[in-house]
Amino acid sequence: MATAAVGPETRVDYLNVDYGIKSWLLTTDHKRIALLYLVSITLFFFVGGAAAALMRLNLIEPNGALVEPATYNKLFSTHGIIMVFFFMIPSIPAVLGNFLVPMMIGARDLAFPRLNLLSWYIFMAGGALCMYAVIGGGVDTGWTFYTPLSTTYLNTNVMSAALGVFVAGFSSILTGLNFVVTIHKMRAPGMTWFRMPLFLWAIYATSIIQILGTPVLAITLALVGLERLFHVGIFDPAVGGDPILFQHLFWFYSHPAVYIMILPSLGVISELVTCFAKKRIFGYSFVAFSSVAIAAISFLVWGHHMFVSGQSIYAGIIFSGLSFAVAIPSAIKVFNWTATLYKGSISYQAPMLYALGFIGLFTMGGLTGLFLATLAVDTHVHDTYFVVGHFHYIMVGGAVMGYLGGIHFWWPKITGRLYPDGWARLAAAIIFIGFNLTFFPQYMLGYLGMPRRYAIYPPEFQVLNVMSSAGASILGVGYLIPLVYMIWSIRYGPVAGPNPWGAKGLEWQTPSPPPTENFPETPVVTEEAYAYGAKEVAVG
């Protein structure tokens, strides 16, 4: 099936080099695999979003407008599991990372292309298992699978959900492994570590976390499954087991996991801010090292999820202090982006709107994280909507907006088409407004004492809940709009040249869409990253 009359001439690119379902399902081209992931995670996003919609609809009424509490438990568990493991964790690494890592370093593909394809199949297998769990009766442990509820007391689809997450974890591990080897061993001549785009530093740091953290989640979920299957008492107090051990093992991965979710977005923002301010990044090495610092320190703070669990107070003090420390590298990034924007030549296309929104919302989310890291405050707001507000500001106001900004930014490179920027800016504004209306009231609800994961609530909380649900509907509309115009643009959008934004970076030196081997010949790198008119003094 030929493309429309208006389109690239007979130039062969990675999209038209071969047709047919086999050429997609058996591809080893990192760019095609990125698109496989793009379609999959978009589907999962809307499944998780549907669960959220039902939750917010239910919370319009204090006594639950829509579902029984038992069903509500299944809804928030579905929302959490699908969104965390099947949307957020893969999103930027598996879509933008897969597409861009080889291109940004000037390579023809990743180090292990077949392993890359296997990662996608493993991801889909895990997704199928979780969808079975969801459709076949639901799982209601929450995405955190706490024991002894998950091991001893529940009779829902815990096994299949845990197995699905276990399997999907290996996809994450193998993707991270692929990226680390590629970045170490396959950079083009002249592409030193400190000439790499900061997106690659972020992906590298993310991959370290994926490699070192995910296996612990795997073994922990395996233990939960085995305890359910054989009634052995690893986390069962009756035999001397300790449920808190589960929490330690679970959060050892799951805290760094939230950095898997945010770090790549932080990398995208560095790309967007420099391109749309037409300015070199302020403090390149600070931003680069802060990514690695976040990855390292993220492994030292997991106990802040367990302050009121029965964990020792002294361990709590250690974890609290370290949690303050992990905020510092994130703040360094925000300062550097701000300094980059200062006296830049700023344009407000959609990717930049997402980036600016990110900086504000991520900062708010991050600051509320400090509240939660404080032992005394957390005693009151733990397991309330304050926590829910905090992580949604980071994950949705931060990571998802970074993801959307990145998708818009690199869309011309991926598809060879331009999306309509007017609609894109409108969608970005709707998302921003809807987001804040949804989640700012949740800070207030949490502070006032409304617990999370509850299907019903005292009537005095209704106004804030209704505001939040109204915001959620606006947010939903905002997410649907890009779906429409992006798909539209694939066929009807104006043809994009190699570099519609005038950006720096190797990926912009090759046609849009790129040929399968990315570059006709291996590029040689001679200039620094972000070499936009270098008139200002850069630190580092």
């Binding site: 001893t152 007391y153 529940l154 009779n155 829902t156 689809n157 815990v158 096994m159 299949s160 170490h184 070192l212 612990v216 359910r228 009634h231 069962d236 009756a238 300790d242 808190i244 051990l245 330690h248 093992l249 050892f252 492994f299 030292l300 997991w302 106990g303 964990q311 020792s312 107070i313 002294y314 361990a315 250690i318 974890f319």
Partner: protein
């Protein structure tokens, strides 16, 4: 030639050392050293592991990057074990008020009592 070719003699020497250390650690378990039994056993295990890593796995002739990978993994394992341990071993440092003693709480349901079907 890709990679380093190790002489067969080296392999056999290391093999001998590994068997000897295994015999040593087994026999030491039968000697009463009190607290030191654990330390001796684990030290010998570390020695054996080091020999396998350096010679059989060629780390002695590998790039620095691969050593960093291994050391990072060991460091991260140490972080997992040590920080988790700080919790379990400092719990007793905070006294529990008498009113919280578990004997005053209602007894929890028996294992399996709430379970209706298994998954």
């Amino acid at each position: 030639m890709l990679g380093h070719i190790v002489p067969k003699k080296t392999y056999f020497l290391i093999f001998g050392a590994l068997l000897a250390l295994t015999a040593l650690t087994t026999s030491m378990a039968y000697v009463n050293l009190g607290q030191w039994n654990t330390i001796v056993a684990l030290t010998i295990a570390c020695c054996k592991a080091t020999l396998v890593v350096l010679f059989f796995m060629h780390l002695r002739w590998s790039t620095r990057l691969m050593r960093v990978v291994l050391l990072s993994a060991l460091l991260w394992l140490a972080i997992l074990i040590s920080l988790t341990t700080t919790d379990f071993f400092s719990r007793d440092w905070t006294p529990i008020p008498e009113s919280w003693e578990t004997s005053r709480l209602p007894s929890p349901p028996a294992q399996g009592e709430l379970r209706t079907s298994r998954q």
